[in-house]
């Protein structure tokens, strides 16, 4: 599928852990300022695929890949590319909330601080927390430990922490899977709000969630890209029989 304004272009991507092929010959373009959902049964390689996009798989020894991932026209796995630099432009929100064991305030300011942010930190904290729809709940206790927040609040703090870096792309790895239904609804609302300013790629095993929040959907099965298209189409009239079987719950 061709998109109008791609921010990430992935060509013939193969990802291996040791000898086993986790993602097979995958070519995708991710559209700017849209939400792209990656769905598929567990173990299909969706998290692997996502983590490859900001080089978070570098920490796994047996990991290797071939093919190209172009970000702004530059291959992020090129020898010249600095993973640290990639990660500050492509942020990530993880499956389980992982706030730093510091104050709420410092959780937000740390990333900008180490990267030489020169603006006003108070404004940054307020802006980021408002952006993550958390400001009203925590504005009176910014100096309390982030670990004192509830799970859902922690995850929104992690999103706030991420957008404080003003990334171009936000990757979300099943961001609501560890949360209760109410917090999940919060996060989903937030994603719909964030799409105005950010390109979001979200991995989810929850198909209703994908249908609710995303513009495009990408279906991975056993490491292969089965189908990629506009979310509405995928969920109403998929081209591929496997996709249809999966979204109607016949397997997975």
């Amino acid at each position: 599928m061709v998109v109008n304004n791609p921010v990430l272009k992935i060509h013939n991507l193969n990802i291996r852990y040791g000898d086993s092929l986790a993602v097979k010959n995958c070519s995708v373009e991710i559209e700017k300022n849209k939400v792209t959902a990656i769905i598929g049964p567990s173990g299909c390689g969706k998290s692997t695929f996502l983590r490859t996009l900001n080089r978070m798989n570098d920490f796994i020894d047996s990991f290797s890949l071939d093919g190209q991932i172009l970000f702004d026209g530059v291959d992020i796995y090129d020898r010249q590319s600095d993973p640290v630099d990639i990660r500050r432009r492509i942020g990530m929100v993880f499956q389980k909330p992982n706030p730093f064991p510091k104050t709420i305030y410092k959780n937000i300011t740390w990333g900008p601080h180490i990267n030489g942010y020169k603006g006003n930190f108070d404004n940054l904290v307020e802006g980021s927390l408002k952006g993550a729809a958390l400001w009203d709940e925590v504005k009176d206790r910014l100096n309390e430990s982030a670990l004192s927040l509830s799970g859902g609040q922690q995850q929104r703090l992690c999103i706030a922490r991420c957008i404080a870096m003003q990334p171009e792309v936000i990757l979300m790895d099943e961001p609501a899977s560890a949360l209760d239904p109410k917090s999940t609804a919060h996060i989903e609302e937030l994603i719909t709000k964030l799409r105005k300013d950010y390109t979001i790629v979200i991995v989810t095993h929850n198909m209703q969630q994908a249908a609710r929040v995303s513009d495009y959907t990408l279906f991975l099965y056993e490491g292969e890209l089965i189908e990629y298209g506009i979310t509405k189409n995928i969920f109403t009239k998929p081209d591929n029989q496997q996709t249809e079987d999966y979204i109607t719950g016949r397997f997975g």
Binding site: D82, V84, P112, N115, Y117, Q166
Partner: protein
């Protein structure tokens, strides 16, 4: 855009410098090992130019400070073995039973009392244990067995046993607790009593960990110095009678260093030969224990 990313290059250099400093620190441990081997090897080599290795290993008289000099390590070895066997006979069974009690029977409250006590016992300096043996254990032994000498192997064995007991107990406890709960539940579901379960399921499953802890504890007993120096005496006797005064390899090394033996002489070199032998024995035991321990980890993960 509020960010300035221009210092990327200097940051990369900084990262590399920090990594090198850290690597250098880690390397000090390798240097330490090489230095130990070098120091012990060099002086021992000179020693063995004068004294044949076979005389050293199989000679039955150790009189390096008296004329005619003789350098047979067997009396020191017998003294050391007496302590090792004696302390092992106390610490190994008691330590294992303590571990079984802690992991199978004890309530959390009991654990919270016993664990810190074991930690305190493990943290008491060896010189204090030596004092305790000399001024408490020996007099008590002499009430029961009046023929016991003031310095004797029995008292030192008991106190070394007390010293290594916490180590055996805590390592065995770890080993037993790493036996999967499912295995235990399987046993109980068949109607086994805790004793039967311990005997035929838990202890066999934790066997390699238990053995490793035994080996480590015995290696500690080999190298123990101050308690045996104070309590066991300074008489290199080729005897296994625990009521007589003896001398261990470690106590001999202390004895020489307390005197004013000039550097370079054959007496001075003996501490390197004895120390070298001690190092080799403990090294082999430590390697064996670590090997056994890693082996059993693979089985359970």
């Amino acid at each position: 855009m509020f960010f300035r990313f221009s210092h990327s290059l200097s940051m990369k250099i900084k990262e590399r410098v920090i990594k090198s400093i850290l690597a250098l620190s880690a390397f000090i441990s390798i240097v330490t090992t090489l230095a130990i081997i070098g120091v012990l090897g060099r002086e021992s080599f000179t020693f063995f130019l004068t004294v044949p290795v076979t005389d050293f290993l199989f000679g039955t008289h150790w009189e390096p400070l008296l004329e005619p000099k003789s350098f047979g390590i067997l009396p020191l070895m017998a003294g050391t073995l007496l302590i090792v066997i004696g302390s092992g006979m106390i610490a190994l069974p008691v330590g294992l039973l303590t571990a079984i009690y802690l992991s199978e029977y004890a309530s959390n409250r009991t654990r919270e009392i016993i664990k810190p006590i074991l930690e305190i016992l493990a943290g008491i300096p060896t010189v204090v244990y030596g004092y305790f043996a000399l001024t408490f254990i020996t007099p008590v032994i002499r009430i029961v067995l009046p023929q016991t000498q003031i310095f004797n192997g029995l008292s030192a064995s008991i106190v070394v046993g007390i010293m290594i007991l916490p180590m055996v107990a805590s390592l065995c406890d770890d080993a037993i607790r790493s036996v999967p709960v499912t295995l235990r539940q399987g046993g109980y579901a068949l109607g086994a009593t805790p004793y039967e379960l311990t005997k035929s399921v838990t202890v066999p499953a934790a066997f390699s960990g238990i053995i490793a802890s035994f080996v480590l504890a015995i290696s500690r007993a080999f190298g123990e110095t101050m308690a045996v120096t104070l309590a066991a005496g300074a008489t290199p006797n080729l005897t296994l009678n625990p009521l007589e005064s003896i001398q261990t390899m470690t106590a001999y090394i202390v004895q020489v260093s307390l005197g004013d033996t000039p550097a370079g002489g054959i007496e001075y070199q003996t501490i390197f030969a004895v120390g070298g032998l001690l190092f080799i024995i403990t090294l082999i035991m430590n390697i064996a224990a670590n090997w056994i321990m890693n082996h059993y980890r693979e089985v359970y993960e």
